[in-house]
């Protein structure tokens, strides 16, 4: 069973979200990296990019497939994890440390729409 830390929030499209006063850090879950398999390339969004909910904001490519990353919330990209360009395997090795981007939320109340650890666990279990 994959790891789903308490204290983080989760999207149905398998991103984890760590909130710090309206600026969130986002990566993909352990379950997502397991499904994808060995990741060979991460395409990052651009700093300053404005995103709507579910907007495409990057790609995670594994030996099996290329999957879009979706913005689990609306907001502006404020920082991206450039280290992933050179070592995408970090996403496999430590999915909750290998964050992909940070965004400033348009509306912090949107966070309430996301799943908690228990909610995400039952979603991952059902797949």
């Amino acid at each position: 069973m994959s790891e789903i830390p308490q204290g983080l929030r989760y999207s149905k499209s398998h991103e984890w979200i760590d909130d710090d006063a309206g600026t969130v850090t986002i990566g993909i879950t352990d379950h997502a990296q397991e499904l994808l398999g060995d990741i060979v390339f991460v395409e990052l969004p651009e700093v300053g990019q404005q995103l709507d909910l579910d907007g495409e904001c990057g790609v995670v490519e594994s030996v099996k497939a290329a999957s879009d990353i979706y913005a689990p919330l609306a907001g502006e990209i404020v920082e991206v994890n450039e280290a992933l360009m050179d070592s995408p395997e970090q996403v496999n090795d430590a999915p909750y440390e290998a964050w992909i981007f940070k965004m400033r939320l348009k509306n912090p109340a949107d966070l309430d729409q996301l799943l908690d650890a228990a909610g995400y666990a039952s979603l991952a279990e059902a797949e």
Binding site: L35, D38, F41, V63, K64, E89
Partner: protein, 492 residues
């Protein structure tokens, strides 16, 4: 070993080369008359080998090959069926080979008659209005089809349409083609029985919808039962329907995309019409359109008249001013098209129906046998069209043996692996397409291998996890290959 690694400086094969007008054993006289500016400053770094070494190198490579000529090749979605040698022989006649694309149409009446006839055949089997043979591959045919949809909307001043709908089970090329034509892609979900989720479709279509790209039967190996309803929803919203011809062999001579309501289709002649799957080309992806989209077909096409003493002529922009234009310098890859033409003529209309009959019969037979042997079907209860999906999710969970492990172990038993991990929405899947050209004994042997591997997975899993054991190379490190790309010998 690369041919460059066999190279020895100064080694020549001039002794074995036949030279006309020169003396045997001499290097050819240097070419004269090439402007200095066109000449390279440094010599090309080519491998230097004798003829015998070169022959051995490539013969050895070909012996390592897993191919349709040597092995069962049930690579789902790719339709790896037998390429009849007769099509090859006829397309390789010197009259065809020696024709220059810039040659006068008067001197190319034979080949143009064949192409014209092929246009008519493809138009007829798809139920459409007109054909352009010019796209140089399936992907270019797709691009042309979507570009035609765009040209149609633009011509009507309907330029607000910005979205192309693509089912989540689609080929990756579909969204890529839509994006190349400047569209945004919206995914449509598939329901549990493998059909497009029509309710979801209904809620997504609107004035922003330019069209939908569908494969029918789909990549899940089932026939889209509500296709007429889908066509109606799309057309009512002002959108058009694009048919990806990837799976046309399943319906050839039985039903036609035009009759289902599609507006444009591209055909992968290397699948349905059995031309070789070249190592990257040359290919051909004819595009066929109904009345609505025919004016936008790419040029040139072959026309027929009796003027100027030539019956056949190249249809250019003057005659089709609304065309999306040219896709390449000449008229497409005629050598490939000729093979498709000969194949179609050899089959005739009765043979084409037999293609559909046997592609479906073979897939259904293989599917039922694997189901009886204990494998899980991704979409149980539906009849297979020309391909079907086995999911190894349970085996993967219980035994720790993945679809990739199964695929690699199949190689040891003399079968090319089915397509793995596609479509993406089915976990641990094998997409299996035996094609119409396989016999029952071959399919039985495949089932036996699958059963053996399942037993091995339980009793001696290391045999499966370490496979392949019997091939020239063991399991390759595809992760490292993707992360550390190394494509250029010169940079070593």
């Amino acid at each position: 070993m690369l041919i460059f690694e066999r190279s020895e400086e100064g080694r020549r094969n001039s002794a074995q080369r036949v030279i006309s007008g020169g003396q045997q054993g001499q290097d050819e006289r240097p070419l004269t008359g090439i402007p200095e500016t066109m000449k390279r400053a440094t010599a090309a770094r080519l491998p230097e080998l004798s003829e015998l070494q070169t022959v051995r190198h490539y013969t050895r490579l070909s012996q390592k090959n897993f191919s349709i000529d040597t092995h069962f090749y049930p690579l789902g979605s790719c339709t790896m069926k037998y390429n009849p040698r007769g099509a090859n022989t006829l397309a390789m006649q010197t009259g065809f080979l020696n024709r220059h694309p810039a040659g006068d149409a008067a001197l190319g009446q034979g080949v143009m008659a064949c192409l014209y006839d092929l246009q008519e055949i493809l138009r007829e089997v798809t139920g459409m209005e007109a054909t352009s043979l010019t796209p140089a591959a399936g992907a270019q045919g797709e691009f042309a089809g979507v570009a035609m949809i765009r040209a149609y909307h633009d011509a009507r001043g309907d330029s607000e349409r910005s979205e192309i709908l693509v089912p989540d089970a689609a080929h990756g090329t579909n969204p890529a083609s839509a994006v190349m034509c400047g569209y945004k892609v919206r995914e449509i979900p598939t329901d549990k029985s493998g059909d497009v989720d029509v309710d979801a479709l209904r809620s997504i279509v609107g004035p922003q919808t330019a069209g939908i790209m569908l494969t029918n039967p789909s990549t899940l190996g089932v026939f889209e039962r509500r296709i007429e309803e889908i066509a109606e929803i799309m057309h009512q919203a002002g959108g058009l329907l694009y048919y990806d011809g990837a799976n046309l062999n399943a319906i050839l001579g039985k039903t036609r995309p035009g009759d289902m309501g599609f507006d444009v289709i591209h055909i992968n002649v290397h699948k349905t019409f059995s031309t070789p799957h070249g190592g990257g080309g040359p290919g051909a992806g004819p595009v066929v359109a109904n009345k609505r989209l025919a004016p936008y077909l790419p040029i040139p096409m072959v026309g027929k008249s009796a003027e100027d003493g030539c019956e056949y002529y190249w249809v250019e922009e003057q005659e089709r001013p609304e065309s999306i234009g040219r896709l390449s310098a000449w008229s497409g890859n005629i050598g490939v098209l000729l093979r498709a033409y000969v194949y179609a003529k050899m089959l005739g209309s009765v043979g084409m129906e037999r293609v559909a009959d046997y592609s479906v019969l073979n897939a259904s037979y293989l599917m039922r046998r694997l189901e009886q042997a204990g494998f899980t079907l991704a979409i149980p209860g539906r009849r297979a069209t020309h391909e079907f999906i086995v999911t190894l999710k349970k085996e993967s969970k219980d035994l720790g043996i993945s679809a990739m492990d199964f695929a690699k172990r199949l190689l040891d038993y003399g079968h090319h692996a089915p397509t793995t991990y596609f479509p993406l929405l089915v976990p641990e899947c094998l997409l299996i397409e035996p094609t119409e050209t396989e016999d029952r004994e071959t399919m039985d042997a495949f089932v036996e291998a699958m059963v053996t591997i399942l037993r091995e997975a339980k009793e001696s899993p290391e045999k499966v996890k370490g496979a392949p054991w019997t091939l020239p190379v063991r399991r390759l490190d595809d992760v490292r290959a993707a992360r550390e790309l190394d494509l250029n010998w010169y940079n070593r």
